[in-house]
Amino acid sequence: MKMSTTKRLERLHDRYANGDLSRRTFLSLTAVAAASAGLSMPWMSQALAAVEQVRFDGWGGTVQEAIDKYAFQPYTAKTKIKVVQGTFGDENEIITKIKTAKPGDFQIVHSSGVNYYIKYVNAGMNSEINEANIPNMANVLQPMIEPFRKLTPKLSAVPYDYGTTGIAYNTKVISPEEAKEKGAGLLLDKKYAGKVGGYADMTTRVWYAALATGQDPNNIKDMETIWAKVRETRDLAKKFWSSGAELMDLLSKGEIVVTDAWSGRVAALQDQGHPIGYLDPAGSYAWMEDMLILKGSPMAECEELINFMLDPATSIAVAEGQSYPPSLDPTKVKLTEKIEKLPAFDKTGSMKALTFADPVYWATNEDAWTKQWDRIAKGA
């Protein structure tokens, strides 16, 4: 008995020697594989680079490509400060992320105007910009700045561009005359059942339902009819899109022939030669976009970047690239012909022709309406 146990142990030792050898081979093989893949510790590189970069989150697709090409790349070339970029399809998504992140993880957001601005302010995520560091703000349209200043006298964001959510239609299927005549009603036209699209966003859906029921989107009296219309569009819709790229994809492939759409994305499609028409019905949903600096960001670097972006040459190049008019005052800065032709462009600089969402009104209804919209989107 004793003998056999000892013998067994000897054998075990042999095995172990073998096992150890192969384990080492295995480990070194793994190491070689990892090294050849050219890996570096992601955490380490991030920590080292933290001082020399600014974080930006935007809407992706053609819009962000334009900003990157005409603003960020020249900026990086000039200052050596890298702009690290992220994208989102829905601004609520990024707000959720910011809420559960450390201050400073997110820095600049390409935000959509005052009715989102109020959300950042309410959540205490706004910073205070030193406007002296952004001399180019002198050229920015005052009517665009004012609504922000009404919410916070010390700004946390600078308006950058604006656009509308109008109606886009496939001109092979729908004539411009028909589109003009029906306007927002196209989204409810049974003729196009299964070929209708729309933005999967509460504000847009409620806004267009308000237009369809003849109500003022900033002072809705009868919510029941609104939700009924929202359901009606839902039942006609093939799909509600959730990003600008998806909108362009659906329209260009002809999967949908009519949808509410972002003016700049439609202009980009038209540039590519797609047969897509665009119109702003009466009361079309206008919005502006701003560069918002979040609390906890490196203020000086962020301000410098925004000042660079607002430089007329940069701003005009970006505007032409992303097909949204810039926030520059056309009475102060000479804009190009291409910009003047962009949808939603307001040559007076008064912004009176455009209907924006009333931030306070929408903010008070936001929670309840989002909840209801979520339910309707799920078939309720």
Partner: protein
């Protein structure tokens, strides 16, 4: 009716079984094959019919910073998860198999719970907890979360093997004067190697593949490979995603296969009297 020779009824039942099996295998692999084929499509729209053979989507993929970053992140998380989970799993199953202690039954149930509770619930729970104690989401949290998800599998695999290793070996080593630790290191661990490798591989793939929980846990601005794919899918199905899928398949199938081969040669080297182990 003779024993062992199938009757007519049995033959038909057997054929049906074989047919259904074939269908199930086709069902399992057809979409994957379609994805791999489409990744070579020249057209910029991700669908049939194919318009030509092209490698351009792989080229585009290699130039896509976001994808590469997500790939590196996932790889690191998976490596760390695999190493740590295996260590934890081995000690745990050692304790569960060799020791008697109060609450052992409860612990062995608790350990497999992460595999049974839907990830949505685990995801929300951890998120609520760190919000309640006002902590930010960090990479560490994501890794620990992945470890939690992988621990049940590693424990089960190593436990099953540990049961098969007779404790006489360890006791003999101890009686010959080996310390507790070196008897474990020199006797138990080498015998456990196949299960350790299998468990580590599984932990690696579980982490590399995790989607649902990662969506809740990942820190701001961090994308892992699956969440990156999801956000790309939100935009549109492009051949680039198919190419990415193909690369992912190569990685996640290739690594265990290679691991399995190493494992096999290892066991062959060591001895023949041990039962053959499945790669899982």
């Amino acid at each position: 009716m003779k024993v062992g020779r199938p009757n007519k009824e049995g033959r038909w039942a057997w054929r049906l079984t074989g047919f259904v099996t074939l269908c199930v295998y086709i069902f399992m692999f057809a979409p994957i094959v379609a994805t791999v084929i489409l990744s070579f499509n020249a057209s910029m729209f991700g669908g049939f019919p194919m318009t030509g053979f092209s490698l351009q989507w792989y080229g585009k993929l290699m130039a896509n910073e976001a994808v590469l970053a997500a790939f590196r992140t996932s790889l690191w998380i998976a490596l760390v998860t695999a190493v740590v989970t295996t260590a934890i799993g081995v000690v745990t199953s050692f304790a569960l198999v060799r020791f008697e202690f109060p609450g052992k039954q409860t612990l062995s149930t608790l350990v497999i719970l992460p595999a049974l509770v839907p990830e949505t619930i685990l995801g929300v729970g951890l998120l609520v907890l760190i919000k309640a104690v006002d902590q930010p989401r960090t990479m560490l949290l994501l890794v620990l979360g992945h470890i939690l998800l992988a621990v049940p599998y590693v424990v089960l695999i190593t436990q099953a093997r540990m049961v098969g290793i007779r404790r006489v070996y360890e006791e003999a080593a101890l009686s010959l004067g080996a310390s507790r630790f070196s008897s474990f290191r020199e006797i138990t661990l080498p015998l456990l190697i196949p299960a350790v490798v299998a468990g580590a591989l599984l932990a690696f793939t579980i982490s590399f593949d995790n989607t649902s929980a990662s969506l809740f846990w990942r820190p701001a601005g961090v994308e892992t490979m699956p969440t990156q794919i999801l956000s790309m899918l939100k935009i549109s199905i492009s051949p680039e995603i198919n190419a990415l899928g193909t690369v992912m398949i190569l990685v996640t199938v290739g690594i265990p296969l290679i691991g399995g081969l190493i494992l096999q040669s290892l066991t062959r080297l060591k001895r023949r009297d041990e039962p053959k182990e499945e790669a899982r």
